[in-house]
């Protein structure tokens, strides 16, 4: 059941982005989508709306980049809980360190090893 819910919620996140690209007159690029979704994840998380979605849809909510925003926000909030104002500066990035490091390492290696097509 969790698999079906993950598929549907993960798919719906992308449908919204696709409609934003196709139906708005502004030039919406992948960069705008990614930035908007991360900030959207931060905001939803701040209002306590994102964790319930993860509880319900699992990877359907963590795999979209909004989940990255959720991790950032919760990390920063927990940072404040533990260390006060300094934690607001350290908690967010610490919570997403694995993802960022993985993206830098694998991204760099892929860019070095492979040649672009055409």
């Amino acid at each position: 059941m969790i698999f079906l819910k993950a598929f549907i919620v993960g798919g719906l996140f992308c449908v919204v982005a696709q409609l934003l690209i196709d139906l708005t007159t502004h030039k919406v690029t992948p960069a705008h989508i990614l930035v908007g979704y991360v900030v959207g994840g931060v905001v939803l998380s701040a209002f306590g709306l994102y964790q319930p979605l993860i509880d319900w849809a699992g990877a359907g909510a963590t795999v979209p980049i909004t989940g990255f925003g959720h991790l950032l926000a919760q990390g920063a909030i927990q940072g404040v809980e533990q260390k006060g104002i300094l934690g607001a500066f350290s908690g967010g990035v610490a919570a997403v360190a694995t993802g960022i490091t993985a993206a830098v390492i694998f991204g760099y290696l892929a860019a070095i090893f492979f040649k672009p097509k055409g």
Binding site: F7, V35, G75
Partner: protein
Amino acid sequence: MTQPLEIRKKQYKKLVDEIKPRPPLVRNTLGAFIFGGLIALIGQFLLNFFQGQGLSVNDAGAATSTTLVFLASLLTGLGIYDEIAKYGGAGTIVPITGFANSMVSPAMEYRAEGLVLGVGARLFTIAGPVLVFGIFSAWLVALLYYFFR
């Protein structure tokens, strides 16, 4: 008499909007749903697998992201991810795999400009803005939490 530039610009934009082909909405939306759903589904399989290996929920999530980022980087390098993106549209942008793709693609493209200003800088063409706005907004949320909790 020629009209002011602003009006001519508006007329031109209207004309362009009328002429340019409408995106195939149903096909795009369906593609985004199916591919976005499939990537999330793969994520769910990975999540269950890593939890089965005894990882905590948080660690399993991190391991899942790492695996997806690895796969997306590899597929982007091989030129396969961009082929999938033709059908998946936003379904291949929104998942964390799209984030990895947005790093590898420009870095690979500008490899000829060197390892520092080519690969090193271009990795963050899109990831840079994502981190700036993400980190800034999370910091702001934490600051508000600090003062108003």
